[in-house]
């Protein structure tokens, strides 16, 4: 099920190339959302397989809600690899909570 997962990572392991060696708790959203589908999703599934082709449409659509953060949190860490050292404020980088949206 779509939920918050936690992973201890160093800031320099986030892939954003910030060099701080601080370790942070990265929270992300993962898991299934099929239980939250609506009629809309059923219709989209049908349209993607049959409907759109018949109408000459090539649009791509999602056929179920996706497991996404519904609120973010920031990391505030110190980078001492530069001189003078400075604080970094990395915005909206970790999921505060998740939901099927």
């Amino acid at each position: 099920l779509c939920s918050v997962r936690e992973l201890e990572v160093k800031v320099n392991e986030l892939g954003l190339k910030y060099k701080s060696e601080e370790t942070v708790l990265l929270r992300y959203c993962s898991g299934k959302c099929d239980k939250h589908r609506e009629n809309y999703d059923m219709v989209m599934k049908h349209m993607m397989t049959v409907g759109f082709r018949e109408k000459g449409r090539k649009d791509k659509v999602s056929i179920q809600p996706c497991c996404r953060p519904t609120a973010f949190e920031h990391f505030t860490v110190l980078d001492t690899t530069v001189n003078p050292s400075r604080y970094l404020n990395i915005h909206n980088v970790s999921a505060k909570n998740c939901g099927c949206v």
């Binding site: 954003l16 190339k17 910030y18 060099k19 915005h91």
Partner: protein, 607 residues
């Protein structure tokens, strides 16, 4: 006036000590020979007299503190303190040069006497450590002696409260001073200073006090150190070391708050940052011309310096403009400023400083050169053409210059007039430069619009001084084809790859096309890959006058929006100084991201 050289007195009293037992000795230093010290235990206004103050009395003439009653265990029990073994008694003493029957402590801080009352009897000789006989147990207060004063006793070395503990011991004291100083021990075993001291010679004497305890069989030597500090008084006149006059030329920098010339006045006395008005300096203009007083002020500050380890004061005086000077102001003045050490008693307590000021008018004129700028026919709107400014504009401060473009020949045909909408001019934020940029790219494309001659007029704000010069705009290259003209002009920064970038007609593009910069470094770097209208001016960490006209011209320098990915903002918090990978921007945000294609490409090459 009379003063007590010690900041506090500390001693210990015991149960069983008899009335009349001497506890400690307070000393007073004289200001002049005629002063006769009267010593009192005093009561402060704010505190109610403690019930135990009656257990003690002080000899008004000698300053010796005695027990007024024999101390009992019940006395110890009466004290409202929890400690079972030692409780503290607080008394205050003061010294006056005349008698008083109302011993209310003087306004200035009275000297505290802190007695540790021990719930035990006085240790016998056998249980008494020799050190206890020689020196008080916790004597933390170092004496302070005012310079230029009379000799005198400043401290009782032997512990009066232990006089009779070991009657068959003979105790004697000696003192050594580093640096050598006029200190000795008198017959009453008091530390005395035998001559007046001069702080400007030495501020602190490190004394080694040696106590010799002689019994029938042994001589024991106990040492301790004591620092005697010499307090300063204002006994030195101010003096100038070097020049007392400064020649000042005010030309381009004529802004309110501007500071000019620095003169130094020295004083061997020290200057506290606050508190009593010790070594107080005041300054006055001797010039009476009101214009001077409305225009100039003096900025004074002082710093403490050490010369051969002795602290002294250096006062700095700078001329300050109280208002912006008009560009036309043109004067020569001699300003005289009298500095007065108001506390110094002598006659030479003043120093006269001279500021010889020459105020030059500022000429607003363009350098005598022909200004030629080139612009491509394909340039898009906001493409930067060049910068122009009047002579010495870089140094202007306190006044600003506004630039405008004029068509030199007012009677030219309507078609020709239409060409002149092509170029426009704007001020840089500090109003020193005029920035020329493409205002109407359509006009550039018209074949009839060949080279353009503008008149640039520079006008000084207040005095309306004007200067003008002719500039020549060469329009080169061929116009863009009709088909391309319909191509929408976008923000170069939206492109994240070279091919898209170089095929886009971008806002502010000097050639009409955007320019790609390929970054080579790894990590978050200032040399990031990005698509720019003009790599000469964007990105350069400066959101200049033209770029700030539209956020999509050069968001790399100007954006205030969020930036996603590894990055570092510009100095003022705007723009993107450094970025990881490729920097590309949309209206609501920018991204710093390793481009997938490059990434795979790079992974192969970068291993």
């Amino acid at each position: 006036c009379l003063y007590v050289p010690q900041k506090e007195y500390i001693e210990t009293v015991y149960v069983g000590q008899q009335a009349g037992t001497p506890i400690l000795q307070v000393h007073a230093m004289q200001d002049n020979k005629s002063e006769k010290p009267h010593f009192y235990l005093c009561r402060t206004k704010t505190t109610t007299p403690s019930h135990y103050s009656s257990w003690f009395y002080m000899n008004i003439n000698t300053g010796t503190l005695f027990l007024n009653k024999t101390l009992e265990e019940s006395d110890f029990a009466q004290l409202y303190q929890r400690s079972p073994s030692v409780r503290k008694l607080f008394l205050y003493t003061m010294v006056r040069s005349e008698f008083t029957d109302k011993p209310l402590c003087l306004i200035r801080k009275p000297v505290p006497i802190i007695l540790d009352f021990v719930n035990a009897t006085l240790p016998q000789c056998a249980q008494t450590d020799t050190k206890e006989l020689c020196f008080p147990h916790r004597d933390t207060s170092n004496p302070h002696i005012m310079e230029n004063r009379f000799p005198g006793a400043l401290r009782q070395l032997q512990r009066l409260s232990r006089l009779n503990v070991c009657p068959n011991y003979t105790i004697s004291y000696s003192v050594e001073s580093d640096p050598p100083g006029p200190f000795a021990v008198n017959d009453n075993k008091e530390l005395v200073v035998n001559a007046q001291l001069d702080r400007e010679e030495n501020e602190c004497y490190r004394l080694l006090l040696v106590c010799n305890v002689q019994s029938e069989t042994t001589i024991i030597k106990v040492e301790t150190t004591l620092n005697v500090f010499v307090d300063d008084e204002d006994d030195n006149a101010p003096y100038v070391n070097g020049t007392d006059s400064a020649d000042i030329v005010i030309s381009y920098n004529r802004t309110k708050g501007g500071t000019f010339g620095t003169l130094y006045v020295f004083d061997r006395d020290i200057t506290p940052v606050s508190g009593n008005n010790h070594n107080k300096y005041l300054g006055t203009w001797l010039n009476t011309d009101p214009w001077i007083k409305e225009t100039f002020d003096i900025k004074n500050s002082f710093t403490e310096k050490k010369a051969k380890g002795i602290r002294e004061t250096v006062h700095n005086y700078q001329l300050v403009l109280k208002r912006n000077l008009h560009v036309t102001e043109n004067r020569t003045l001699q300003l005289d400023y009298l500095v007065n050490d108001t506390i110094y008693p002598g006659l030479e307590g003043t120093v006269l400083l001279h500021f010889n000021v020459t105020i030059l008018p500022v000429q607003i004129h363009f350098p005598n050169v022909t200004h030629i700028f080139t612009v491509s026919r394909r340039a898009s709107a906001y493409a930067q053409v060049g910068k122009i400014c009047v002579e010495n504009c870089q140094q202007f401060d306190g006044f600003s210059v506004i630039y405008r473009l004029e068509v030199p020949d007012k009677n030219m045909s309507a078609d020709s007039q239409a060409c002149y909408t092509a170029i426009s001019i704007t001020q840089s934020p500090n109003r020193k430069w005029g920035h020329l940029y493409v205002n109407d790219s359509e006009a550039l494309c018209k074949p009839e619009c060949q080279d353009l001659q503008y008149l640039v007029v520079a006008q000084e704000g207040k005095e309306q001084l004007e200067a003008s010069t002719q500039i020549h705009i060469k329009i080169d290259g061929t116009a863009i084809r009709a088909g391309q003209k319909s191509q929408q002009v976008l923000s170069c920064a939206e492109n994240r790859q070279r091919a898209d970038c170089e095929s886009t007609r971008g806002l502010g593009a000097t050639t009409g096309r955007c320019q790609w910069r390929q970054g080579t470094e790894k990590g978050i770097t200032e040399n990031y890959s990005t698509c720019s209208p003009d790599l000469q001016t964007c990105p350069d960490s400066v959101c200049d006058a033209v770029e700030s006209k539209d956020p999509s011209i050069c968001p790399q320098d100007c954006t205030k929006e969020p930036v996603i990915g590894g990055h570092e903002r510009g100095l003022s918090g705007n723009g993107i100084k450094a970025c990881y990978g490729t920097c590309y921007c949309f209206t609501e945000r920018c991204f710093c991201e390793k481009d997938d294609i490059e990434q795979t490409l790079c992974d192969e090459m970068c291993k």
